[in-house]
Each structure stands twice: as structure tokens, then as C-alpha cells.
Symmetry: D2
Subunit: 217 residues, 4 copies
């Protein structure tokens, strides 16, 4: 009895790396898992998904799924990254694949946007999934990051605007609910830090205008 999984997590919680690892584990067992992403963000002209930590894998777009091949059991599992961008109808298309064709479908995605509202795909997945699991990461304070914040560029976070802004230079970070509610992006990103010339790095910390070697992988 296959299941529809929704594995949600905040920005920076390694959802994509997890998607690739699950796909990799299927490959290792000579099973065929199909990696999929919604067709929303194809600016890079590539059919790839890429984790922050450096894992890369080829994928197809949701609209390219060959449903006849799926129904013919040519795949042992469907894995969908950025599943928050699926439409309600696309999520519903997955249900008979699980229920009638007994093929597990594993969806990774954000739960809520920077305003704290559901993405359409997330809402439908939360309503329809058999199993809802969290991919965890931490806020700068050490608590679990559960919310996604859009930095406003001047030391705070913004909660208004379009849900999806492709190509926007806005930066998103995961925060715990408390710091998302009060709008505290953490040390290095606050107004006083920016005012004294701090340059936020990948890590959300401020470089304080100095050169620093990056020890990360």
C-alpha cells in the first residue's frame, strides 16, 4: 500500500538534498525513482535540482510526466521537489498514482510563504497526504525554524507582497515562529548591523566589511 508523503521544511532545511538522497537510494537498489520539479522556475534553462550543499541531479518538469509510463509501473517512486509550487489540480493528479497504481509519491516543499500563508501545493498536500513529516533546521536562536522570512534589505523582514517573485534578489531565511512574528532576522542582519557596514553572507551573518575565508564545503 503506497503512500503520498509531504515532507515540509523551512528555507534551508535540506529538502532538495533529501530529495536527491532518496532518489539516489532508489538507484542504488536498482529501482527507478523519477525526480520532478514544478515548471515554475526554469530560469536556468536546466532540468536539474541542486542542493545548497552541492548535490545535483537531473529531473523533469511536472508537465513532462509521461503518465502512461507511470501507470505502466516504469517507475518505483515519484519524488517531487519544490512541491509548494504544484497547483491543487497537480496534487490531485498524484492521488490515483498512489491509490490505484500503488506507487509511492514523495513531495518536498515549503509549508508557508514569507507572509505565513500556505502555498497552493502545500495546502493541498497537507489536506491529502497520507503522511506529513518535517524536515528540520534551526533558527539563528537555536530553536527549530518553522517559518520563512523575506528580508527587506534594511534590517527587518517583510510580510507583504506577491507570493512568488521570480528572479527577485530578495533573500529568504528560515526563522522560528517567535522571531518571524517579531521580525528579527538575527545577528548580522539587523538594522544596526547593516548600518555599520555589515555585509550579510550566505550564512546570514555579517562579514563586518572584512575579508574572511569561508570554511564551508
Amino acid at each position: 500500500m503506497a503512500k503520498l508523503y509531504f515532507r515540509y521544511g523551512a528555507m534551508g532545511s535540506s529538502k532538495t538534498a533529501n530529495a536527491i538522497m532518496v532518489w539516489y537510494n532508489y538507484q542504488e537498489r536498482c529501482k527507478k525513482a523519477l525526480l520532478i520539479k514544478p515548471g515554475v522556475d526554469t530560469r536556468d534553462g536546466e532540468y536539474r535540482i541542486r542542493s545548497r550543499s552541492g548535490l545535483v541531479a537531473n529531473c523533469i518538469l511536472f508537465d513532462q510526466i509521461d503518465w502512461n509510463a507511470v501507470r505502466a509501473h516504469e517507475y518505483d517512486c515519484l519524488i517531487i521537489d519544490e512541491a509548494q509550487f504544484l497547483s491543487t489540480e497537480q496534487v490531485d493528479q498524484l492521488l490515483p498514482i498512489v491509490d490505484e497504481f500503488d506507487i509511492p509519491v514523495i513531495c518536498y516543499g515549503l509549508k508557508t510563504d514569507f507572509r505565513g500563508e500556505f502555498f497552493p501545493g502545500s495546502a493541498r498536500l497537507l489536506a491529502r497526504a497520507d503522511t506529513i513529516e518535517e524536515v528540520k533546521t534551526i533558527c539563528w536562536c537555536g530553536r527549530k525554524a518553522t517559518n520563512n522570512a523575506r528580508l527587506d534589505g534594511v534590517g527587518g523582514i517583510t510580510k507583504v507582497g506577491e507570493q512568488v517573485v521570480l528572479g527577485a534578489s530578495d533573500k529568504y531565511i528560515g526563522l522560528c515562529r517567535k522571531h518571524w512574528l517579531v521580525g528579527d532576522p538575527g545577528p548580522g542582519l539587523r538594522a544596526e548591523d547593516l548600518a555599520r557596514g555589515a555585509v550579510p553572507g550566505v550564512c546570514g551573518c555579517a562579514a563586518d566589511g572584512e575579508d574572511e575565508e569561508d570554511e564551508e564545503i
Copy 2:
């Protein structure tokens, strides 16, 4: 660091019994947990919650919460049953209790209604809770029951109508997604069973018009 918990489960998954047991465990440790239910359904004139299995405990209505007492830490925990009936605003009132006053809040409720749509309280809790956990039960087929069905009285289930019908004699049951989607309420509740005079019992099975001793507790 306290958390806001949303423990969701289908009809008949022992959510109320779990709420009472958590309350009981606090009592046993000489801690004060406050049992709460939304003010929607007070037909019985009682401030009680009652599990199908027979556990009963006193509670107050959400609107009766003495927020000053809560903020003064007179309670070690708030436990809310039938939390799907909370409004968005009521859920939001709970957030500072958790984040600022460090008091855990544990909410039990349905995730979706018989139409497959979120209840307002459930949607907000799914969006805001720190921890989302499932209280599980089974469909008649043995799979996990994840959906809630309203029986139409003639052997099928209905997916249209008001979300909440107080005092309605409609019967609800938990089904797996597959059987909810196809509208199969299971043996004893199908049209052919009703046609031959079957009388659905508490368990959803048909008594076949015969007297039967009920061996359940």
C-alpha cells in the same frame, strides 16, 4: 522553550481520549493543565469533554479563558479539544502564550471536513504550530484513516453541504483517502447492505436486523 502542538486525526481516532490523558498526566504530576473546548457546540449545557471510550473531564470554553491567569503562569499547559473549530484569531491568541510566556499549548482536532477542506482552526494550526503530529486510526480496509466522510444515509457518502451542522443526525466516519475518494463507506454501510435491512451500529457494521449482544466496552 514551549511549543504549540497540533495533533490531528480522523473521526474516531481517540483525540479526545488523548487530550484527557495528557491532562490526567499533568494532574498526576501535580501540574495544572487547563482543558478547553471551542464554544461552538454547547448543546449539552455542560462544560465537559467526553471520549467515545468513556473518559470524561471538565473543561472550559475558549471564550472563558482567563488570559491574565494564563500569563501569570497559573497553568502549566493548555489543552484544547475540537481545535478545528477555533477561529484564525483564536489560534493567533495562543501564539504569545507559547512564545512569550513559555507555556505549551496542545491542540487536538480534525484536519479536514467531510468535503476534504480545512476547518479554519486546522488551517491556522497547520500553518503556525511548532509540531504537527498525527493521532492514527484505521479505515475499515485496514489502511490508515486520513479523511472524514459524512454518510448520506443511502449507502454512500456526501461531499457537499455546510461544514458544520449542529445537531444533525448525519453520521461521520473516518476513511482512508482511497475509500473517501470513491465514496465507499465499507461493509454494512453500503447501499446493498442497507437495502437488505442492515442497521448500521456504532461500529459502522450492520446488525442485519437481528438482535446481537454488543461485546464492546
Copy 3:
């Protein structure tokens, strides 16, 4: 594909109440779940399991299981309470029931004894179960209780002695690891509390020699 579940929890975490509720949920769906307890403790001459919160249900002893009936699928589920008292061999007897006969087996039990060592049944279940889940409760400090302490009667806890002492008047409580390690049973049970005449109640709190109404169910 059925599973062998081990649902472990500290003293006072409502394991028995959960076992009864799962059994009840099967009954409600007209499915037959068999409630079982090991044959270790039958002093009360009854084939019953009883939760602290007042739920009671009939059960059989492990040695009374009619394996032919089980293999003939006369039961939809086996539920075993106090599973820490199963022997290694008894746990192994359950494996083909799950794997070959596709019948879920749900075991509730303690993980470790008051000395911090596994019970035989718990060790085997941890090693063999498909799914390991925790039934949670709290320490007097508010942290999760993960360890089981035997009160020494003079304000501390003891970590030496026989694993099982039937009929012993020793009192057990669940504590978080920290308070189990340092041996602090909490307010009302400490030496200074006992010295001033405190009488530990069910809740582990001291009655201070005064009459108090018990507001628990």
C-alpha cells in the same frame, strides 16, 4: 504489509490507556483486535488490563494465545501491553505473524528499568520492530520523562536491586534523564519533604499531612 510496532514510554505515560484505545478503535470498526499481556503479573487473578485513568479491558495472557487462530486470521491485530516482560523468544514468535500472516502487532512497554537497563522484551523489540514510537509524558520539571526511577522511600531513588519485584510496595515514577541521573524525585518526594511529614500522593506531590480534596478523575 503489516508491521511490528514498539511503542515505548516511561512510567505513567498512558501506555495501557493507549493500548485499550487502539483495541477499542478496532472494535468500533468491527475488526477484532486481541489484547494480550505477559504472564508475569497475575496476582489479581484477573485477565484484565487497567489504565491509571480508569479504562479497563479484558485480555488474555501471552501463553494463552491460540496461534492457529491467529494464523487463520481470526484477529485483525494483536495488541500487547507490558511488553517489556516478554522474553526474547516470545518476541521472536511474533515476527512470522507480521511477516508471513500480515497481521499487525502493536507492543506497548517500558524501554528501560529503574537501573537504566533494558528489559529483555524491550531490547528484542527495539532490535526487531519495524516501527519504534514514543508515548510521551513529562517529568516534574516539565521536560520529557524518559527514565524510570524506583523511589527508595527516604527521599531519593535507587538504582540497584532486582529488575522485577512483584508485589513490592516500591513506588516508581518517570523522570527526565537529568533528574534520574542525579536522583532527584522532585518536590514532595525529596528527603526534606518527607522529613517534615509530607505524604507522597498518587501525583508524587506531598499532602503535607493535611486533608485535601482530590480533584482528579
Copy 4:
């Protein structure tokens, strides 16, 4: 309140990749997580951990931990890979780090060896951890892999021998309990496959003596 986590999983379940990702997520938040492995297997002369999928990160050996630095909160988190190889005493050394110094410790490791017995570190972690979580992967049959099998090289699996054989050319795979119990390593690895000249690949499948392009990352 920090926790001691034990995240167990069968061979090939991406435990090391998960350890590296958690470490990476701390780095990204400008927090310092210390990657650690037991000193058992240092054949490669390197202080690195390496996932099958290609992630690599520097680490230190358990014996190299500077406990004063840890107690001085120079690290926000300790992450231990291959934690099954820790001794009982080494696990116990971690407890005050969590309980007194409030530093989370996350241990990744196997639960049981190829014989189905606990590793010493796993037994102690199962007995002492605050939170026990599973890192999942699949058996060749599609069920969850929960057991670890040592291939005997002639189409079966072996359940006798030393727990750890460093540098052994034995191959290990994860299997579900059923296939571990009956000793079926799956298609491509069975005696009949090997007899007809099949050469087991990384994935456990047989190449049938033919050249095949490997499409994996």
C-alpha cells in the same frame, strides 16, 4: 533544553549525508557544529566522513574531543557519525554535555549488526537518548529496510562471525526484516544469479556480464 538524539538507520540510508547536512545547516547559520567519528576505522588516514552520494566533510575522532572547549560552549552542537561504534562509556560522556551544558548531541548510526544484535554504542544510545528517530531506506522489495545483512558471497547472507571486520571485503546491504530472516539478498545477488555469471554492482543488481553505462551521480 538540549537533547541527545539517536538517529538510526540501516546500511545505505544516508546517515552520513544527513550528518553532513545538519553540520552544513549549522555552518550556514554561523553556528559551530563539531563533526565527530569514533576512532575505530581510520584506515584511510583521514579525518573525514564521506557519504555514498559524494558529500565529504572534515571531522575529528571521538578521542580528540576537547571537552573543555565543549564545556566552554565553543560548539553549538556535536554531531557523531557511525555512533554504533561508540563504547558505553563514550555515550555516557555525552550525557552531561546535553543535560548540564545544554548542547545538543546528534548521533547517527546503525541499530543492529548483521547478526541482528545491538552494537554497544547503539544499545546505550537507545537506552539513554531523549529522542530516537529513524533514517529510512528501502529493501529491494520496496518495504522499509530495517536490518543489515552481510553477503556471504555465494548468494546468501551470513549471521555468524565477528561484529566488526575492518578491511573485510564482505558486502553489507540493508534488508527488511522478512528478507533478512529468510536470508534473501534480492535479485542479482542470489545464488542462481551469481551462478550465471552476474556481477553484483554498487546497487546490488547484477550486471549480467555486460557493460552498462552507469547513469548514477
